[in-house]
């Protein structure tokens, strides 16, 4: 990481700490914003958050490792989360998953080479009446068919 990049990240985190408050209970909100912008929370970002909140970096890492929506290593720019719970499964999740895997050439749990997509399974999205469902970043899509799912992903830049 360049010194310049580090400085700008530090500045960004300082602003987040100011926005959410300089206390432990702001940790999750701060990490979520970093995650959203950079698609992961780097080691350096973790150290800076820890320094500014006056906690040990390991504490920050332990929180990141706990939550499914936070990660400490880079992912694709778009995260596709397909619901794997039984009702979505019964309504054809498997076919949707296979179609997406074929189209993007990677399996669930992997990231495409161009870093555009990361595929993940997720537990119940609360769309059971309209399954199968998936989240792409923070948008939800329901009543998927293999064709529709691929079309949605193709429209993402």
């Amino acid at each position: 990481m360049l010194v310049l990049e580090k400085n700008s990240l530090t500045e960004e985190i300082e602003k987040l700490v100011e926005k959410h408050g300089n206390n432990r209970s702001s940790l999750l909100s701060i990490l979520q914003e970093i995650q959203q912008k950079h698609s992961y929370v780097s080691d350096f970002a973790q150290q800076e958050v820890a320094r500014l909140l006056d906690i040990h970096p390991v504490e920050v890492f332990s929180v990141i490792s706990f939550y499914a929506f936070l990660n400490s290593s880079p992912k694709g720019r778009n995260i596709v989360r397909l619901c794997q719970t039984i009702t979505c499964d019964m309504h054809g999740k498997e076919a949707v998953a296979k179609a997406i895997e074929r189209e993007l050439g990677v399996k669930f749990g992997e990231t495409t080479k161009d870093k555009k997509f990361t595929l993940e399974y997720v537990n119940c999205l609360g769309m059971c009446d309209q399954g199968p469902a998936m989240l792409v970043n923070d948008k939800v899509y329901s009543k998927l068919t293999p064709e529709k799912a691929v079309e949605i992903l193709n429209q993402i830049k």
């Binding site: 940790l27 929506f69 499964d89 009446d129």
Partner: protein, 401 residues
Amino acid sequence: MENKDKMRQGPVIFSEYKQGEAIKKILTMSREDILFELRESKLKGRGGAGFPTATKWMLTAAAKSDKKYVICNADEGEPGTFKDRVLLQEYTELLFDGMVIAGYVVGSNEGIVYLRGEYQYMYNDLLKFLDEMRSLNLLGKNILGKEGFDFDITIRLGAGAYVCGEETALIESLEGHRGEARNRPPFPVNTGFMGKPTTVNNVETLCAAAQITVKGGIWFREHGTDKSTGSKLLSVSGDCNKPGVYELPFGTKITELLEIVDAKNTKAVQIGGASGVCIPKSQFDRTISYEDVATGGSIMIFNESRSMIKVLKNFMEFFVEESCGQCTPCRVGNVKLLEGVEMIEHNNYTFSYINKLKELGKTMQVASKCGLGQSSPNSFISILENFRDEVFNSNGGKHGN
């Protein structure tokens, strides 16, 4: 918010309500009056545990502290539950008014909605709604001109952890820690968020409280049964022609429900999500209520074509993934139960071992620290008991050759 004209039908939650109605009403009521109505209504927590709401609010109100919190648990992660999604999107005013009332009763001026990360797409709409409430003076300082009646609501996002639906894990998460459940006691009503008295209520409970405030405890009690008053929102999914959210009075029979949602050839109904129980056809005359089959609202219907062992495997995989790993019965137990299911799937089991696993499940129910491990063996035990024939004796009893 959206779909406003799409009116849903229901006796309590979905009955008519105008924004601010409950707040206007409490301007002339004392905290004791509201608590009295709540106690009359016998409202119990709608998240699934069924703790009397009036008691929870009274304990929080009685706790001495300069700062108290009202937390709305909008972290519905139970597989098959989506009623809170509907309430948050279509009955936002009812929920937020309910929170204001909770704040008034317990003496808190700060409310927090813990919204599950998967529902992030609602976040901006909810913020906008809160701004509108502030401009109507339904939130903020001196609400509707009542001196000293201050209350405001913030929204915090979860980050994809099922266990954070447990109230103490939720509080840990809000405080910026891993979502690991705390020992209880002390209960959140005394030592909650930031160590202050806190009432944590389900979305549906707060909505019901707002309706009760307007229409009274007696009105509420007219619906449902003696021990389970009022109605329940049921999230119905699976093999039926009309999935969706239904509001039905407690005491509704499973057969009646199946008729309403137009389900055919039903073999099994999973009530209460992955942590609930699986009811076979022979018991479809049981009722949905705290005294019979309790539920947080998840109803999953399986028809004759479904393999119950596959369903069970899906549930156990879920628990292995979502166990926070803090206590051993849950962390190790769920893995063992899943292994057992896989053994059955591959015809590589002994009955004595499966029976041992059932015993293990019963140990987990008493030895786990929080509701996750205490309830995760439910589906394992109920599916293997209730669908013995299908699981072990199908194929003319030659299963396992």
